[in-house]
Amino acid sequence: MEPALYQYLLRLADSSLTMGQRLAEWCGHGPYLEEDVALTNVSLDLIGHAQMFYQIAVEVSGEHKTPDDLAFLRDAHEFRNPLLTELPKGDFAYTTLKQYFVDVFNLHLYQALSKSKHQPLAQAAKKALMEVKYHLTRSQAWCERLSLSTDEAKQRMQQAFDDLWFYTPELFETDEAMLQLADQGLIADYSVLQSYWQQQVSDLISKCQLVVPQSGWLATGGLQGEHSEHLGYMLAEMQFLQRAYPGCEW
């Protein structure tokens, strides 16, 4: 058991799972048919990534658990995702911008992790990276479409930006254990990720003429398992069957 790496893998998996779960809420409710398919397609990829990372976490832990145990039988305080990924789906602008922030992050994250000295992690990151490139192309195109079009769309994008911006620094939060993993070449250097992310996102902000909000609550807590109120409801819904009928196969 390598507790630091295990916790880190949970952070990766939990982030993908919560993003995927939120996107799945769009299923059957998208703004039009092609987008309905696209949203659930990204959801499907992200849940697949979660499963890969949970699988590696299980292997690292050496315990007799399954990826489903990790997804369905942990409570909110055991989840390690940043708060951003658990936020409600909101409107299409909110979903799109949240996705964009996470896609840019994932792009640089998986590029770095594909060089991890932990081979299973490097392999999984390479696989996820191929899909994340498509996710980013799509979310970025929609950010531009929405920001540079009608007044209503611009207004909604700016509102989403105001609501989400102060959740983004938490993506780069690290603790002592993560710094050590980075030193050992197992995970990414998050300060480098942050500078790539900031550069790329600020290009989009100026292209889309978005105004950076001045102040807000700086989200934090995910690394310690202290989440928003939203996560509990998400898990109550997601874990319902496993909790109501314990020990069953499905």
Partner: protein, 323 residues
């Protein structure tokens, strides 16, 4: 809008030689293609049937989507998401095929949202437990396949070709639904009860998916002549029952029809009478979920309006920049 090869004539005014040639072509098993001449009634029948089919795929996303966020494992969640995506994809192919008959997807969508067009009555039933997702795959997709396999040979080329692709995916769906039922039937007592309740609720509505009985079906005869349909509603329903009853027995579940009995002489199962009042009621809009389904589609359409407008505006801006 595409309208070549079509005449505006209503049935009766169309030249007898064209009608005869059209029927001869169908009798020779040649496909009718979008540019070919076709009787107005043939075109209308196809638009009605194909758009109902497409609408059913779209509305059908809702009862299954109801369990996506509660699917009991990561694998089940992914399979269900992929399946619902397939359904949306089927809707897309069939809308596109319908557009070759000279209507637009927007028109068809309006007809759905204003209640003018119908969709399969099965989707007006709720999915109350996880086992319902199994039952929908097994029974609803199973019934759909019975209807759709003959449609691969339907006389209208674009419809036939889209059905060939759709049937491949549907048979996957049917098998995964049955697999869900298998796991539940072999699981705990509570899981088996869940499976039985799902069968109880979905059995009769699935039989209704084949439409009214032959003696009451107003579209059947002409559609058979035009080879849009290849089998009657009752023939297909019987095929479905014959195929499905042994599957239920294999699961150890009981089909909720006390009159169901194997008939040695006919080589088919005899079955009880369908509650046609219920059928007519659900079609008229008085099923358990008709209102919710329509409200969900209308809400998605209305809430998506600003997104569609923004996309159009953006492309118009790009075009004028380029000009």
């Amino acid at each position: 809008m595409y309208s070549q090869g079509l005449t505006d004539a209503k049935g009766g005014d169309e030249p007898a030689e064209l009608l005869a040639e059209f029927q001869a072509k169908i009798d020779r098993e040649e496909k009718i293609e979008p540019r070919d001449w076709m009787p107005e009634a043939y075109r209308k029948t196809l638009i009605r049937q194909m758009s109902q089919h497409a609408h059913s795929e779209i509305v059908g996303q809702l009862p299954e989507g109801n369990w996506v966020t509660r699917a009991p494992s990561l694998k089940r969640k992914m399979i269900l998401l992929a399946k619902i995506q397939d359904e949306a994809g089927h809707g897309l192919y069939i809308y596109s095929a319908t557009e070759t008959l000279g209507v637009t997807r927007d028109q068809l969508n309006d007809e759905l949202l204003t209640g003018k067009a119908k969709y399969s009555s099965i989707f007006n039933y709720p999915t109350l437990s996880w086992a319902d997702i199994g039952a929908v795959g097994w029974l609803v997709d199973g019934a759909a396949i019975m209807n759709q396999v003959p449609l691969c040979r339907t006389s209208y080329g674009p419809y036939s070709r889209s059905m060939i692709r759709i049937c491949k995916e549907e048979s996957f769906h049917q098998r995964q639904g049955y697999e869900i039922m298998t796991v539940l039937a072999r699981g705990s007592k509570e899981q088996k009860d869940m499976a039985q309740r799902a069968l109880n609720r979905f059995w009769w509505p699935s039989l209704m998916m084949f439409g009214p009985s032959d003696k009451d079906s107003k579209h059947s005869e002409q559609s058979m002549k035009w080879k849009i349909k290849r089998f009657t509603n009752d023939e297909l329903r019987q095929k479905f029952i014959d195929a499905t009853v042994p599957q239920a027995e294999h699961l150890g579940l009981t089909v909720p029809d006390p009159e169901l009995k194997w008939n040695e002489q006919t080589g088919h199962y005899d079955h009880g009478e369908i509650d046609w009042n219920e059928f007519v009621n659900v079609i008229k809009g008085n099923g358990p979920c008709n209102k919710e389904r329509m409200q969900a589609r209308i809400k998605a359409h209305e809430e998506g309006a600003w997104v569609r407008e923004a996309a159009q505006q953006y492309h118009a801006n790009k075009k004028s920049e380029a000009a």
